[in-house]
Every structure is written in C-alpha cells, then in structure tokens.
C-alpha cells in the first residue's frame, strides 16, 4: 500500500468511463501511497460486481475508498505501537531500576541509554532480555506497554475503523438493494416488452390471414 511505483497489473475497467473518472476526481491517496494498488483494488471489486451505471460506480468506488482507508488505519495502529516501543521499553526499565534502587535522574538517564542501546547493540539487548526475564517479562511486555501508552489514540482509531466498516457494509447493502431493484425493474421491462409482443402477435394473424374468398353466387343455368 505504501510502496510507490509498484508494477502491478491493473485490468481495464469496462464501463468506468473517462467522464466518470474525471467526475470522481483523484483517489484520496497519501503522498507515499501506491496509486496502482488502489486501482487494482477498485478493479477487483468492479470485476466481481460489474457495475452497470453511475449509481453502481459511485457505490463501488466508495467501498474501495473505505476499504483503503480501513487498511490505512489498521496499518497506522500497528505503526503507532512500533513507534512507541522504545518509549515503552524506557518506562519498563525505569520501573525495574526503581525496584533495584537506582535513584531519580540516574534511573531515567540509565533507562534512556539502555532503551537506545536495545536497537543498536545486540549484547545490551541480550542483557536487557535477561533483566526482563528476571521480572517474568518477555519482549511482548514491551508491545503491551506501548499499547498502554497509546491507548487513547488506539481507541480513537478503533472507533474510526469501526465507523468506516459500518459505512462500507451499509454501502454494500445499498448496492445489493439497488441491484435487486434493478433486476426487478428489468424483469418488469421484459414483461412489458413481452406484453407488447403478445399484443402484436395476437393482432398479426388477423392482419396477415388471407382474405375470405368472395362467395360467388352460382349463375343460374
């Protein structure tokens, strides 16, 4: 999703006219998001449901955009946790150093340095893993602490994802309702056409039947 210039094969979208494309404008992609991936998502949906008119295209495009945004927010959640892990490790180390009677400024500084070294020095990392295990903590404790630190933001994102999913599902329902109505109308059209054909075919034999032979009075001998 965030790789640019990916060489994905995007199938052509029959029915998605240039005019509709212009009217819908550019897809709401971030600067470093991949337009081809968005187009591929739109194509896969369009090929599955085969939109027939502008209303159906609007719904398909909306479902695509919402799916894209949901994916983006899910990735953001994972990214937020990853970005906060260093801060989380520092918090955990501060608590451990407090138990180990390291005082005030030293404790904070030591935790900060060790947290930095976790990512750059494998030996320190091993040392810290051993220290954490002494307190029955694994590496997953760091992710848990990161979640705790960003709980408010993650909750907000979760509620936005849920809201986008509700909108997307409503859009899909709307598509089904529209398609049902469309099919129903087409059946009505066909019935109407058939009605007209029947009327025509009922009238035609009368028109095309050969005229009654005129009765010729027999001439008297």
């Amino acid at each position: 999703m965030t790789e640019q210039n990916s060489q994905q094969h995007v199938p052509a979208l029959p029915g998605f006219s240039q005019e509709l494309r212009t009217l819908f404008g550019k897809p709401p992609l971030l600067a470093n998001e991949d337009g081809a991936a968005h187009e591929a998502l739109l194509a896969s949906l369009a090929l599955a449901v085969r939109p027939r008119d502008a209303v159906e295209w609007i719904l398909v495009k909306d479902v695509t955009d919402l799916n894209w945004e949901i994916q983006r927010m899910r990735k953001a959640k994972a990214g937020i946790i990853s970005v906060t892990e260093k801060e989380a490790l520092r918090c955990i180390l501060e608590s451990i150093f407090e138990i180990e009677n390291l005082q005030g400024r030293d404790r904070m500084l030591e935790a900060e340095l060790k947290a930095d070294d976790w990512y750059t020095k494998p030996s320190i990392r091993e040392e810290l893993i051993a220290l954490l295990s002494r307190y029955r903590l694994g590496e997953e404790a760091i992710a848990a602490q990161a979640i705790a630190l960003r709980l408010r933001e993650l909750e907000k994102l979760d509620s936005m994802i849920a809201s986008a999913e509700i909108r997307r599902n409503a859009m899909l329902r709307e598509f089904v309702v529209y398609r049902d109505n469309f099919v129903h109308r087409r059946y009505s059209d066909i019935e109407a056409i058939e009605g007209e054909i029947t009327e025509f075919s009922l009238e035609r034999p009368r028109q095309l039947s050969p005229p009654e032979p005129e009765t010729v009075d027999e001439l008297p001998n």
Partner: protein
C-alpha cells in the same frame, strides 16, 4: 480620556484602514474566517458544473424535474464526501511532511502512522461531515432507485436495456 483632536485623528485614520480595496484583496479576506470550508454549501464552489454533469448521469434517461432534483442532492453529497476525504488526506500529508522534517529517525513506513496519530482530532471532526453526507446521498439515491421510470411518459419509450458488460 482622549482629546478631541486625538479622537478626530483616530476617526480620520480609521477611514483609511477599512480593509482591502482591490477585488483580489476582498476575495482573500472573505476567507479569513474559513477553517476548512466544509460547512459551506458546495453549490457556491467551482465544482458546481461537474456536479450538474454527475446529477444528469445519476438521473438517467427520461429524467423528470423531481428526479433531477434528487440526483442533484445525491451528486452534491457525493462531492462533499470527496471533499472531506481530500481534506483528511491533506491533513495527514502535512503531518507526515512535518514529521519528516522533525523526526529523521522514523522509518518511512512509520511516518504515516505518526502523521495519522497526530491528525486524529481533525480526522474525528471530519468524520461527522462524511457521515452526514453519506446519509444524505443514500436517501437521494434510494429515491432515484425506487422512482426510476419504466417508460417515458411523453414518448412511451422504454429505457434502453443494457447487457452487463
């Protein structure tokens, strides 16, 4: 208390500073109080012609004035949705650009995450506009859906039957 001379000078100066005089200046200051412009009616914006085109497409063949009216509501709501999404994208992009400048230690894949985290208050505010526009569009499209004409009242023609592409 200010002297009469001072009051007169103030009044004279005030006459000189009554805002911009050129048309461009007036246009610029007319947008001073605009925060995101999402409450402004979209009909006033330059996309109005495109909106009409979309409305005509949505109304379909044999559009009655009522159908055109509902199609216009749907098109307006659609453009509003697009506007909200573009606005959200801009917010996140701006935050990402800032984080690129301020936090060079961030991995590229984490930049969006941080940008989204920082844009959360605006994103939450924008959601209200999007929800409202979506439900307005849904109502209008349902109306169009259920009142689609089977035949044109004047010509008696059936709408063109199209095979699925």
């Amino acid at each position: 208390m200010a002297s009469d001379r001072k009051i007169a000078a103030n009044r004279k100066n005030a006459l000189r500073s009554t805002g911009p005089r050129s048309a461009a200046g007036k246009t610029r200051v007319s947008r001073n109080a605009v925060r995101h412009g999402l409450s402004a009616p979209i009909a006033d914006l330059p996309v109005s012609a495109e909106m009409d085109r979309l409305a005509r497409k949505l109304a379909g063949e044999f559009a009655t004035p009522q159908r055109l009216e509902q199609a216009r509501i749907a098109a307006e709501a659609e453009f509003e949705i697009l506007r909200v999404r573009a606005h959200r994208k801009t917010h996140i992009d701006l935050n990402a650009a800032n984080s690129r400048a301020e936090r060079s230690d961030l991995l590229p894949e984490h930049r969006n995450a941080v940008a989204i985290m920082e844009a959360l208050p605006e994103m939450a505010a924008l959601e209200r506009y999007e929800r409202r526009a979506v439900s307005r569009r849904k109502r209008a499209m349902r109306w169009l859906m259920y009142t689609a004409p089977l035949k044109d009242e004047k010509s008696g023609l059936l709408p063109r039957l199209r095979a699925p592409s």
